[in-house]
């Protein structure tokens, strides 16, 4: 089973994303900020990461840059999922190594379409 780490400081968002991704056949782990997410990845790299931008302790962009510098950190497919919805943020995310980008609010169709886009 493929694994997806859902990184978001909102418990509600994590729950919604978990439900959608479990329906798509993923096993889900959750983290509430970038630091927690990094600890998860160091223990076991997931196949995919759904990543919020603005979080306490460590934000999504800083996490992504650190992840890509980790051994094996280029492997997970990273999909941003954030309220930041302007071209500048999207370009910054792609340059930092994101594979896809979801602008909140999202629904099951968008998640499914974006995961299909990256081949998952």
């Amino acid at each position: 089973m493929k694994t997806c780490l859902v990184v978001d400081d909102s418990r509600v968002i994590r729950k919604v994303a978990r439900r959608i991704l479990e329906d798509l056949g993923f096993e889900i782990a959750e983290a509430a900020d970038g630091m927690e997410a990094l600890a998860w990845c160091r223990a076991a790299m997931p196949d995919a990461i759904l990543l919020d931008w603005n979080m306490p302790v460590m934000g999504g962009l800083e996490f992504l840059r650190k992840l890509r510098a980790e051994p094996g950190g280029d492997a997970p497919v990273v999909i941003f999922c954030t309220v930041e919805n302007d071209a500048a943020h999207i370009e910054e995310a792609l340059e930092a190594g994101a594979d896809e980008y979801i602008m909140k609010p999202f629904d099951g169709d968008i998640i499914e379409s974006k995961f299909a886009e990256v081949g998952l």
């Binding site: 919805n85 302007d86 071209a87 999207i90 370009e91 999202f106």
Partner: protein
């Protein structure tokens, strides 16, 4: 809704557009017609339909029919047909045309997502090979749909249905809450209002016709008619692309499926549509 209101909607849609509307789907009829009633300043859907009964005004009738023709639309819907066009269909047709442009028509283009997806594909192909020549056209029965398509304006929701983020960044610009497709891509498409059941005698010749998820919404006799008329628009080696769950069976042997390309059909050269005889 009253049964006579429902049957009025069904008969208008059938007569004007060949559209199949199910009497059981009251919720669908209501959700499509409520905005029309509001727009035309009626207090309710029954008021709108009563006015149509007494006044028989064409703009009101078409408002109803157009609203009922709206379908789901997404960029790169089903994905595979776009890859097949790029990798198989275009190269073969382009060779056969000796470098003349390959002409592609999106019939019933709705909000324009399909034809613009093709335009973005063509732009990618040209970046690799500047000799690529494709003419793109799109038609729809609905003036409102065409207006939306031509504007190239899509909501945040719409640009997240099937459009890869890199193509969004490359070809769209954010304006307020909407995303606007670049003039460069928009200028690649020619537009036309067209009712498919009204005969295709004047549409000209098209090498590839995308007519996906259109036929399945039509009453059976019109499925047959549109398919037979399409044989007149396609050259012998032309290609018809239907939706993932559709077939060309309604027109007997007018079309045959292409091996290894689900949804792609070739015209049967032996078939002659009645109109051509």
């Amino acid at each position: 809704m009253r049964p006579d209101d429902i049957s009025l909607v069904i008969s208008l849609c059938r007569a004007r557009a060949g559209l199949k509307v199910s009497a059981e789907k009251t919720y669908l009829i209501e959700s499509r017609l409520a905005p029309v009633a509001r727009r035309e300043n009626f207090a309710s859907i029954p008021d709108l339909l009563a006015a149509i009964r007494t006044r028989r005004e064409e703009p009101l009738i078409w408002g109803v029919v157009e609203a009922m023709t709206q379908g789901e639309s997404a960029f790169f819907r089903d994905r595979a047909p776009f890859d097949a066009f790029r990798n198989e269909i275009y190269p073969a047709l382009s060779r056969a045309r000796g470098g003349e442009p390959v002409r592609v028509w999106s019939a019933a283009c709705a909000g324009g997502q399909e034809i613009y997806s093709l335009a973005m594909v063509v732009e990618m192909m040209r970046a690799e090979d500047p000799s690529v020549r494709v003419e793109l056209a799109a038609s729809d029965i609905s003036a409102r749909a065409l207006e939306k398509a031509q504007s190239g304006l899509y909501s945040q929701f719409e640009v997240q249905r099937g459009l890869p983020i890199r193509l969004l960044i490359k070809h769209f610009e954010k304006t307020d809450d909407m995303w606007r497709l670049s003039p460069k891509i928009r200028r690649m498409v020619r537009w036309r209002r067209l009712n498919l059941i009204a005969g295709l005698g004047a549409v000209g010749r098209w090498d590839v016709v995308f007519c996906r998820n259109v036929l399945s919404g039509l009453e059976a006799p019109y499925q047959k008619k549109v398919l037979e008329d399409l044989t007149l628009a396609l050259p012998e080696d032309g290609v018809l692309v239907l939706g993932a769950k559709e077939t060309a069976e309604a027109a007997g042997d007018a079309f045959s499926p292409m091996a290894g390309q689900p949804g792609f059909y070739r015209r049967n050269p032996a078939f002659r549509a009645a109109a051509a005889a």
